[in-house]
Symmetry: C2
Subunit: 709 residues, 2 copies
């Protein structure tokens, strides 16, 4: 597409000169046309006769609309008359529109009456754009009409949206099928519609002063997409830019921060119960092997380590300084950290923005930027990086090494991460508290974890994003290689924002977050427990090689629940090929059910479980296996667990590594079986059919987004 | 409403005589009118001139429609022309409709052309009825038009639906708000629309041979509701009636079965590993104190109990006989049970319908009905009734007494119930396996549990209902006094059924189950784990006295997640009165947040938790309390657990018993705190914000349905 930017520039300049915050219909149409957005033929008339002439040129039927900068809601002012079929009616309508407008607002400046070809037929849709405080320019698409206003069947993407995004938006809405025509109606030209979305997204991206835009309705048909009405709202005030660090600077700093060779503890203490003491103990007890420098104005030694009166007195290099001092002393020490070329200040202290002390927080950010020191926090528990035996925190130490990296914005959620990890024996690479996020945020962590060989899955608890656009960009890249799980808290608490356009009003916060997170390839968790289970599970499950899921169960009842769960999680139950069906039937009783689920029935011995599991693991047409074990006397829980452990380990040795998840139903012994299997990296859950399938579903969501299946 | 049944009877009789399975438009309209369903003025024309005359009488615009028993889809045959404005066009349209119809089907019998007033304006909705294999006659309501066909925004109720149901249906659909008018449009006459629904439901209820019915579209406006098109499909074949036991007979039998004074074990065995041995052991070890009669052809004594060669040889009365013999011997022993006036046969054996042996199952049902013996099963684990110390099962014994009654259709789910109960120390009154449900089903259990003083909550795993209508009727009554939780399995596995009407096609199985379960006041659980947690939790939580929920938390992050969960579960966060706000502020730091959630902040000692919890428990405006505890050094988990236990116990002693649920975040010690609280009947869950709120939400759903708040 070649866009005529200069026309738009001129129209906007005039509006700015007039100090207007919206365009007139005819200006809006000019802007649309400049960006290849089709609008109906039209002309501006300033007399009944001129209106009649224009209408005759355009062809009937026509619509007349008042043109006035002082009348924004034309319909409410009686300023719109539709379906005008001949010249006489055009003249009469012109007069009555004029009268209505004057009655509505006697002082309104009236520039004339717009005569427009009446677009009919086709499907009414809405295309628009809005400016989100977190994500910036967004383009929207939804079905039109009053009904849809109620159902709010609309989707969003970051602008500019490229062709692939625009086409994906058409499929995103609930009523998507109507675009292909229903009950004999012809469908719409999807390319034309997607192109309109793309054009709108480029328009608002190229001209950030366009704050909101509505094409409402757009009539979409086989013949194309025509915007019957264009509404453009403006905001010429500059949007504050987020501070951006250069990508290579980010990575250099984050590597020094997460994997430091030397750590200083500001406010280290020998006194039990002090935060500065807990941090020292955790570093020492956790087995940190780098240099450790306690900083204390007077002490000589703390916990066997040489003490320094200030960070500048430390002889060697220092990578991070962990702050265990009151808020009011933080800024000056950050400045010292700068002189010492410390990469990061880990700000445990509270007493900043979280209690309303915004100025104090702004000050430390300013000092840090000048000092070239990155800040983690303030108001955090600290962080863990297990592969360096680093517990840079006042909380309980945690050392179970693994490949899951987690972050939380809240201390409470951070503690839940630690507790769950310990309880579930989940190996982690890092746990990071982000707290007030005065500087380091999710983007920085993603940039680090992306290249960290010790991390394979990233899970984040997020309350808000400082810069949604930066997050989306990094997350989109990282999620191509490593799953990014996000628990977005606060998704339902924010009310609708005041907005002057339809698109703006439809952009409820969570709908936007949801669309952008999906666009970024993020696996969204709906609950804290889901986030934790997804984190654990996604690190364990291999990437499936295809969509074919097989359910194999000893309990028919579990088979039904597991099937339900597969449908709920968009998993495809494999259609069973006849040879494979026959192969399963060799092992199961005549009244058992092959097909999918394969029901081996409850009375079967371990050999039947083993033989059918082996078959399922071996056959390459089966890409993932969902097991439903039923506790019986003939195949007790631990016997099942051992045989499954062996089967999976044999299959892995033979190169058949596919996702296996397991639901266990039975008496309390199944808890031990689940633990045994979990210890062997086989996901198994007692008393639930839904959880194992939900975790498998999360793996599939990620793999599809990453283009791996 | 006074319905003209004889007109309908005559029309249907004629259709039956003609061996037709549908009514003509004009017949359908007659039937509709007889049941006070408004339709447009119309007349049947058999010539262009006659059509013109009728149109002139009715008034323009009019619609012409072909009338032919051989053309069901009129539009597809070019048999409908709308928007006809004058007499000439009527004549021309008549001719072309006739030609189109002949071109479509040269052999079609054409009865004429219907001239109908064109109804315009107002909102298009659909009202219909269908016949469901499980639930029988259902009435449907949804929004009309092609878009809605895709969105399937439709709801169902059992017919006949009374006024309250019909009005509830208007609120049930997602687009409900459009009925009240959007953006200046006037709303519809809700009474007229509800009355139409009611009338349709009575029509199909009074005339079961009407298998499907569509009013599509109905134009609803301020002026009323007019059905522009009426379609009626017929099925004159008799629907087989479900066998119904009389209610008092059910209760008498179920009491003897669940609380037997004497139990016979058919196929009792002294041999370890046999089912007849496990059952005997469970009865003895479980502490059953009634008479116990092992039946064995040869043995003298089994496990210290006098043996009998057959049940008829037992000297005393026998209430239940537990079958531990192969399938082929079951029928003859049921007959013997009849002679012995045994109330129930507990059929553990498998080998019936579940493996395709339908005839064998039909036989035992027939024998049992003749013998007046109720059957539980076959193909079950048996059942438990703890308050009689009765473990009538071959599974592991379970004796934890409590007030939760559970049933399952699948053995696997039954085992999960037992395992979960034991693990969670959930007290139960009964656990019942229903298996193939050849006779005793959920209705019978509900009838018993309704009056059982030992049962306060009923939870059921259901794969299918034999007689959905009977279930709905009993469940509606029982759920007024005791929560009924249902996990409906198989909800997503069944495909759409073939159907000839819109309404029929929209009646996807799960949508119908969902609507009827809600209509019956049932709390539906979405997963096995939800069913189990709801069962445990609903028995523990007192009934809230109102909708005001307060969140009180030590972790701001938990507060956000708990708020999300409240919105997800339709819980209303109380607007904080200023005096109460001030009262909370007395205890919390100045930077803490009152309002709702009340955030006491993470650094607070036990006294702050205690003072604020006491305040929340005491204030009568707060109806339910959601707590978010955060593990800290100053208030460790067990300290919190003990203070909360004491606070709740003090409040209960003072008569302030309100629902309290608790989310615990922290290190593994919170698991012990959760267990401590659960042991004291305070619902507390580690590592999750969502679960406690979901359980509270389930209690509210029940209480609202039961009319208690």
């Amino acid at each position: 597409m070649s866009y005529d930017q200069s026309t738009v520039r001129n129209v906007l300049a005039k509006a700015k000169e007039d100090r207007r915050n919206s365009l007139t219909s005819s200006e809006a149409k000019q802007v649309a046309s400049a960006y290849e957005i089709a609008t109906p033929a039209e002309g501006l008339a300033t007399s009944p006769d001129e209106a009649a002439t224009i209408a005759s040129e355009i062809g009937f039927p026509v619509v007349l609309k008042i043109v006035s900068p002082d009348i924004l809601h034309k319909t409410d002012a009686g300023g719109v008359i539709t379906d005008i079929g001949d010249v006489d009616n055009v003249k009469a309508s012109y007069a009555s529109i004029f009268d209505n407008a004057k009655a509505h607002n006697a002082d309104a400046r009236i520039d004339g009456v717009q005569v427009q070809a009446q677009v009919t037929g086709g499907l009414e849709v809405i295309v628009g754009a809005t400016t989100d405080p977190v994500f910036g320019k967004l383009v929207a698409f939804g079905l039109g009409g009053t009904l849809v206003e109620i159902l709010q069947d609309v989707t969003f993407r970051l602008a500019p949206a490229e062709s692939e995004d625009a086409h994906a938006m058409l499929d995103d809405i609930a009523g998507s099928k109507i675009l292909d025509g229903v009950r004999g109606e012809s469908g719409v030209d999807r390319n034309a519609l997607a192109q309109t979305i793309e054009n709108v997204s480029h328009l608002v991206n190229d001209f950030p002063e366009i704050s909101e835009l509505d094409l409402n309705p757009v009539f979409a048909s086989t013949a194309g997409a025509v915007a019957a009405d264009v509404r453009v709202l403006l905001d010429f005030e500059a949007v504050p830019q987020h501070h951006q660090h250069a990508p290579d600077e980010i990575l250099t700093a984050m590597k020094r921060i997460l994997e430091p060779s030397a750590v200083a503890v500001i406010g280290a203490s020998a006194e039990d119960g002090k935060i500065g003491n807990s941090v020292m103990r955790n570093l020492i007890d956790g087995g940190y092997e780098g240099e450790l420098y306690p900083v204390h104005p007077k002490a000589d030694q703390i916990l066997g380590h040489q003490c320094y009166p200030s960070i500048v007195d430390i002889p060697g290099n220092v990578d991070i300084a962990i702050f265990c001092i009151p808020a009011q002393f933080v800024a000056s020490v950050i400045a010292e950290c700068g002189r010492k070329q410390v990469a990061g200040a880990i700000l445990i202290p509270s007493g900043f923005a979280e209690i309303g002390e915004h100025e104090l927080q702004d000050e430390i950010v300013k000092v840090a930027r000048e000092a070239n020191v990155r800040l983690m926090g303030p108001n955090i528990y600290g962080f863990y990086y297990t592969h360096k035996n680093l517990c840079a925190t006042f909380c309980t130490p945690y050392n179970e090494k693994g490949s899951v990296a987690l972050s939380s914005q809240s201390g409470g959620v951070g503690m839940a991460i630690i507790g769950f990890s310990r309880s579930a024996k989940m190996g982690v690479s890092a746990i990071v508290g982000l707290g007030n996020k005065s500087d380091i945020d999710e983007d920085d962590l993603l940039t680090y974890f992306e290249q960290d060989p010790n991390t394979s899955v990233i899970a984040m608890h997020v309350e808000d994003l400082k810069d949604g656009r930066a997050f989306a960009s990094v997350a989109k890249r990282v999620s191509k290689t490593k799953p990014v799980v996000v628990l977005k808290a606060g998704r339902t608490s924010l009310g609708a924002k005041a907005a002057n356009s339809h698109t703006g009003a439809l952009a409820g916060d969570d709908r936007v977050y949801d669309a952008v997170l999906r666009q970024s390839g993020v696996v969204r968790a709906k609950s804290l427990n889901d986030m934790l289970e997804f984190a654990r599970g996604l690190a364990v499950l291999p990437t499936p090689k295809g969509e074919n899921v097989l359910i194999l169960t000893g309990a028919g009842g579990s088979g039904v629940l597991l099937s339900d769960a597969c449908v709920d999680n968009d998993l495809a139950l494999m259609a069973m090929p006849s040879d494979l069906d026959a192969a399963f039937r060799e092992y199961i009783p005549p009244f058992g059910a092959a097909g999918n689920p394969v029901d081996i029935t409850g009375g079967e011995p371990p050999t039947t479980y083993r033989a059918t599991i082996d078959l399922a693991l071996r056959d390459e047409r089966i890409h993932s296996l969902v097991l439903g074990y039923w506790h019986t006397i003939i195949t007790p829980p631990m016997v099942f667990a051992e045989l499954l452990g062996e089967a999976v380990s044999d299959a892995r040795a033979a190169g058949n590594d596919k996702p296996v998840v397991c639901s266990l139903v039975g008496d309390v012994e199944i808890e031990q079986a689940a633990e045994y299997l979990m210890d062997r990296n086989i996901l198994a859950y007692p008393y639930t059919a839904e959880k194992p399938v939900a975790v498998l579903g999360a793996k599939y969501r990620w793999a599809r987004n990453a283009g791996l299946i």
